[in-house]
C-alpha cells in the first residue's frame, strides 16, 4: 500500500506542481491602505523603468540593426558632446525627484505609529514566533503544523504547505494594531506580504510596525531573514476577525488558559507524561536534537545516552527551564506549561534507552517558583 502511494507520488512528480499552477507574476495589492500605496509605488517605478528601457534599448537595437558593417555602415567620427551629457544627467535627476516625493510620503505614513488600539509583542525564536498581547494577558507560540511526511515527500502536500501554523495571530479588523518586534536568539524578520509589513526581529532591540486591515481574512507570510537551519519552516499566519468574532476569540483564550492551569493541578501518570512528552518533543525539541535524540555532532548535543538525561535530574530540569546562555538552547519555562515541561523532561529521560526516571508536575512547579 505504502509502496503504491510512493509510486503515485513519483508519477505525479512532474505534474503535481503544474496542476496547482500559479505562475503569479506580480506583487499583490494586499489588504491595507499602506499595502495598496506600496503596490502603486511599485507599479509606477516599474513603468518608469519600462519606459526608459524602451527608449534606451530601442536606440541600441536601432544601431545594431542599421549601423552594422554588413549593411555597409561607415563609422561616424563624433565622440563627445557636453550638452548631451548634461541633458542625460538632468533628465534622470528630474525623474528620480518625481519618484522620491511619493515614496517619501508613503514612508512617512508607515512610520506614524501613533494611536494604535492594540499592542502585540512579536518575538522570533529559532524557529517559531511568539505573540504576546500586551493588555490582554494572552501569550502563545505559533509553530509550523505541516507534517514531516509532507516535507519528505511521503504524503501529498496540503494547500497551505509550509504556510500553516497551530495558533495564528488574531487581530480585529478596522483597528490599528501596533507590533513590537524583537528576537530571543538570532535575527528573524516578520513579514506578511498582504500587510506590506516586514520588520527585522533583532535581539536586544524592539522594532515597531503597525497595520490596519479593513476586511476579515487569513493572511500568510514567512520569516524573511536567514535564521539557521529551519529558516524556511517558520511561517506566519495572521487571522483578521470582525469585532464580534475577535471578542469571542478573546473569551476562548481565557478558557484555554484556565484549562491549562487545571491540567497542571491534576495528577499525571508516567504513561500519560511519556505520550504527551513525545508530542511536545516533536514540537519543540526535534528540530535540533533530532528524532532519535542523536543531535547533530558538534552543533546540537545528543540527548540519547547523555549523563544529563540519565543522572542529574535537577540540572536537566534547569537546562530545559532556563536554557543555556551562549548556545542555541532556549529557555522553555515561558514557552511550555508546567505539565508539558514535566511531560517532555520525562520523555527525554525515558526514551532512546535513557534510564533517568520520570519527573512530576509538582517538581517542575517548585523549580519554576525558584
Amino acid at each position: 500500500m505504502r509502496c503504491n502511494r510512493r509510486a503515485l507520488l513519483y508519477a505525479g512528480f512532474f505534474y503535481a506542481p503544474l496542476a496547482s499552477a500559479d505562475w503569479q507574476l506580480n506583487l499583490i495589492e494586499g489588504a491595507t491602505e499602506i499595502s495598496r500605496s506600496v503596490y502603486s509605488l511599485h507599479m509606477v517605478i516599474f513603468y518608469i523603468c519600462v519606459a526608459i528601457a524602451v527608449v534606451v534599448f530601442g536606440v541600441m537595437f536601432w544601431s545594431i540593426f542599421w549601423h552594422r558593417k554588413s549593411r555597409g555602415a561607415k563609422a561616424a567620427h563624433f565622440h563627445e558632446s557636453t550638452w548631451i551629457e548634461i541633458l542625460w544627467t538632468i533628465i534622470p535627476v528630474a525623474i528620480l525627484v518625481s519618484m522620491a516625493v511619493p515614496a517619501s510620503t508613503t514612508l512617512i505614513q508607515m512610520y506614524d505609529k501613533n494611536n494604535a488600539e492594540l499592542d502585540i509583542q512579536i518575538t522570533g525564536y529559532q524557529w517559531k514566533w511568539r505573540y504576546q498581547y500586551l493588555d490582554q494577558d494572552i501569550d502563545f507560540f505559533s509553530n509550523l503544523t505541516t507534517p514531516a511526511d509532507q516535507i519528505s515527500n511521503e504524503a501529498i502536500k496540503g494547500d497551505n504547505y509550509l504556510l500553516e501554523v497551530d495558533r495564528p495571530m488574531v487581530i480585529p479588523a478596522g483597528k490599528k494594531v501596533r507590533f513590537l518586534i524583537t528576537s530571543n536568539d538570532v535575527i528573524h524578520s516578520w513579514w506578511v506580504p498582504a500587510l506590506a509589513v516586514k520588520k527585522d526581529a533583532v535581539p536586544g532591540f524592539i522594532n515597531e510596525a503597525w497595520t490596519l486591515v479593513d476586511q476579515p481574512g487569513i493572511y500568510r507570510g514567512q520569516c524573511a531573514e536567514l535564521c539557521g537551519k529551519d529558516h524556511g519552516f517558520m511561517p506566519i499566519v495572521v487571522e483578521v476577525k470582525s469585532a464580534e468574532d475577535y471578542q469571542l476569540w478573546l473569551q476562548q483564550q481565557g478558557a484555554l488558559k484556565l484549562a491549562q492551569q487545571q491540567s497542571a493541578e491534576r495528577d499525571w501518570s508516567v504513561e500519560e507524561l511519556m505520550s504527551r512528552g513525545e508530542e511536545v518533543y516533536k514540537q519543540s525539541c526535534l528540530a535540533c536534537h533530532q528524532a532519535e535524540g542523536q543531535g547533530i555532532p558538534n552543533v546540537f548535543p545528543a540527548l540519547a545516552g547523555s549523563p544529563l538525561m540519565n543522572e542529574t535530574v535537577d540540572e536537566h530540569i534547569d537546562v530545559v527551564l532556563n536554557g543555556r546562555s551562549g548556545t542555541a538552547m532556549q529557555a522553555f519555562a515561558e514557552q511550555l506549561s508546567a505539565s508539558d515541561l514535566a511531560a517532555v523532561i520525562t520523555y527525554e529521560r525515558g526514551a532512546w534507552g535513557n534510564q533517568g526516571g520520570a519527573v512530576s508536575v509538582q517538581q517542575i512547579k517548585e523549580m519554576l517558583k525558584e
Binding site: A16, D22, H77, F78, P92, G232
Partner: protein
C-alpha cells in the same frame, strides 16, 4: 616596432623558467595573470557546482536531495566563492595581464608582492573549502554572515572561515597596491591620466575602493573572532553589544565591494564596444567622472541593504535618496555606450556579443536596483527572490559576462591563436538563454513572496522554480564549451596578428601576439591611436 624586436630578443635571453617552479616563483605579470585567471575559472566551477546543488534541491517543493543544514552551507559557500574566488581574482588576473601592456610598462611595479598576493589565494580557499568536511559543517550563515547567527550560533568551523577571509583580504589589498603603484609610476612617458584606457581608469578607482574597504571587512571578522573566542560582546545583545552594528560595518565594506566587482567590468566593456563599433568611445571624460562618482557614492549608500532593520525615518530617507542618486552616473555610462554604437560600423564577434548582452542585462539589473531603492517598496522586496534576481543580473550577465567578453577579446593576444568563433558564439547564445531562463523568473518568485535562502517552499512557487532550475543547468553546462574552446585556443588555432581586431586601439595591440615575456622593455612611442582617448 624597434622596441618590440628588442623585447623579443630579451625573451630569448631570460624567458620563463621550466616546469612547476615557473609558476611557483614567477614574478612575471603575464604568468601571474594566467594563474589568477585559471584559479578564478576553477572557483567558478566549484561555486557553480554549489549553485546547481541549490537549484537541484529547489527543482520541486519538499526536501529531496539535501538537508537544510547542508543547503545553508551551499548558499553561503556559493556566495563566498563566487565573490571572493571567481569574480575578484578574475578581474585581478585581467589587471595583471593588461595594465602593464596598456600603459606601456615592462611588468607590474611590485612583482614579488604580486607573486605572494596570488599564492595566498589557493591556501585561503583550500582552508575555506575544508570547513565543509569539518564536524558541524562549514559556514551556514549566508555570505553576509550576520551576527549573532555567525557568532554565538555558528558551527566551530567559523574560525577557519574568519582566517580565510583575512587571507583573501591581504591578497586583495596587496593586489590593489600593486595596481595603483603600476598605474601611477609606470605609464609610458607622455601618457597622462586622461590618456589612459578606461579599463586602466576603472581599475585605478577599484584599487582605491579595495584599499578603503578590505580593512573594514578584516575589522568586522576580527570583532566576530573576539566575540566567539575572547568573550567580548561587540555583537552580542546580552553583553551590551549590538547585532545591528555588525550589519552597518559589514555593509560599509559590502556596498563598495559590489562596485569592486562591477567597475572593472565597465572598463572592459568600454574597451570592447568601441573596437567592434569601429568608433571612438563616446564621452571618455564623462565616463571617468561617472566612474569616480559611483565610487564615491558607494560609501554613503550602505544602509539600503538594511531598510527593514528598524532605522529611524531620517536614516531611511537619506539612504533612499543617495541610492537613487547612483542611477544617474550609471545611466550616463549606459547612454555613452549606446552613443558609441550609434552610427558606428558594428560587427558581432563573440566579445562584442557578450559586451552587448552586458549592456542590456546589466541595465535590467540596474532597473531592479532602482526599484529596490524605493524604501517602502523595498519592504516587500527585501530578502526575497526579487533581490536574488537583482544581484544575479548585475553579477552574472554583468560581471561574469564582461569577464567572458574580456577573455575572448584578449585571448588571441595572450595565446597568439584565434579561438574558434563558432564555438564562442554557441557559448554566448547558450549562456544568454541560460542566464535569462534562470534569473528572470526569480523576479516573479520574489514578487509572489518567496523568501531567499529557503530549502523548501510553498506550492505556489513551484512552477518558476522548476523553470529556473532548467535554466541553471543549461547555463552551467554551457560553460564547458568555454573550457573546451580555451584549451583548443591555447594548444593550436589560426595565428593571430598583432592587432587581432580590425578596430582595435591602444598599446597592447602594438605588441606581437603572443607578447614578449617582458612587455615593454623600452618605453613605447605614443600616438593618438595608442591611448584611451583613441
Amino acid at each position: 616596432m624597434g622596441s618590440v624586436e628588442h623585447a623579443v630578443s630579451e625573451t630569448e635571453q631570460h624567458g620563463p623558467a621550466k616546469g612547476i617552479t615557473r609558476w611557483l616563483y614567477t614574478t612575471n605579470h603575464k604568468d601571474i595573470g594566467t594563474l589568477y585567471l585559471l584559479f578564478s575559472l576553477l572557483m567558478f566551477f566549484v561555486g557553480g557546482c554549489m549553485a546547481l546543488t541549490i537549484r537541484a534541491e529547489l527543482f520541486q517543493p519538499g526536501l529531496q536531495l539535501i538537508v537544510p543544514e547542508f543547503f545553508n552551507q551551499m548558499t553561503t559557500m556559493h556566495g563566498l566563492i563566487m565573490v571572493f574566488g571567481a569574480v575578484m581574482p578574475a578581474f585581478v588576473g585581467l589587471a595583471n595581464w593588461m595594465i602593464p601592456m596598456m600603459v606601456g610598462a615592462p611588468d607590474m611595479a611590485l612583482p614579488r608582492m604580486n607573486n605572494w598576493s596570488f599564492w595566498i589565494l589557493p591556501f585561503a580557499f583550500s582552508m575555506m573549502l575544508s570547513t565543509l568536511f569539518m564536524a558541524g559543517g562549514g559556514p551556514n550563515f549566508g555570505w553576509t554572515f550576520y551576527a549573532p547567527l555567525s557568532t554565538t550560533y555558528a558551527p566551530p568551523s567559523v574560525t577557519f572561515f574568519i582566517f580565510a577571509v583575512h587571507m583573501m583580504g591581504i591578497s586583495s589589498i596587496m593586489g590593489a597596491i600593486n595596481v595603483i603603484a603600476t598605474i601611477l609610476n609606470m605609464r609610458a612617458p607622455g601618457m597622462k591620466l586622461m590618456d589612459m584606457p578606461l579599463f586602466v581608469w576603472t581599475w585605478l578607482i577599484t584599487a582605491f575602493l579595495l584599499i578603503a574597504v578590505m580593512p573594514v571587512l578584516a575589522g568586522v571578522v576580527t570583532m566576530m573572532l573576539m566575540d566567539i573566542h575572547f568573550d567580548t560582546s561587540f555583537f552580542n545583545a546580552a553583553g551590551g553589544g549590538d547585532p545591528v552594528l555588525f550589519q552597518h560595518v559589514f555593509w560599509f565594506f559590502g556596498h563598495p565591494e559590489v562596485y569592486i566587482m562591477i567597475l572593472p567590468a565597465f572598463g572592459v566593456v568600454s574597451e570592447i564596444i568601441p573596437t567592434f563599433a569601429r568608433k571612438r568611445l563616446f564621452g571618455y571624460v564623462s565616463m571617468v567622472y561617472a566612474t569616480s562618482s559611483i565610487a564615491i557614492l558607494s560609501f554613503i549608500v550602505w544602509a539600503h541593504h538594511m531598510f527593514t532593520v528598524g532605522m529611524p525615518l531620517a536614516g531611511e530617507l537619506f539612504f533612499m535618496f543617495t541610492t537613487m542618486l547612483i542611477a544617474v552616473p550609471t545611466g550616463v555610462k549606459v547612454f555613452n555606450w549606446i552613443a558609441t554604437m550609434f552610427r558606428g560600423s558594428m560587427t558581432f564577434e563573440t566579445p562584442m556579443l557578450f559586451a552587448l548582452a552586458f549592456v542590456v542585462l546589466f541595465t535590467i539589473g540596474g532597473f531592479s536596483g532602482l526599484m529596490l531603492a524605493i524604501a517602502p517598496a523595498d519592504f516587500q522586496y527585501h530578502d526575497t527572490y526579487f533581490v536574488v534576481a537583482h544581484f544575479h543580473y548585475v553579477l552574472v550577465p554583468g560581471s561574469i559576462f564582461s569577464i567572458m567578453a574580456a577573455a575572448y577579446y584578449w585571448l588571441p593576444k595572450w595565446t597568439g591563436h584565434m579561438y574558434n568563433e563558432t564555438m564562442g558564439k554557441l557559448h554566448f547564445w547558450l549562456s544568454f538563454i541560460g542566464v535569462n531562463v534562470t534569473f528572470f523568473p526569480m523576479h516573479f518568485l520574489g514578487l509572489a513572496g518567496m523568501p531567499r535562502r529557503i530549502p523548501d517552499y510553498a506550492l505556489q512557487f513551484s512552477d518558476f522554480n522548476m523553470v529556473a532550475t532548467f535554466g541553471a543547468f543549461l547555463f552551467g553546462f554551457s560553460q564547458l564549451i568555454f573550457v573546451y574552446n580555451l584549451v583548443c585556443c591555447i594548444r593550436s588555432g589560426e595565428k593571430a596578428t598583432a592587432r587581432v581586431w580590425e578596430g582595435s586601439h591602444g598599446l597592447e595591440w602594438t605588441l606581437p601576439s603572443p607578447p614578449p615575456y617582458h612587455s615593454f622593455t623600452e618605453p613605447p612611442e605614443l600616438d593618438k591611436n595608442n591611448t584611451g582617448q583613441s
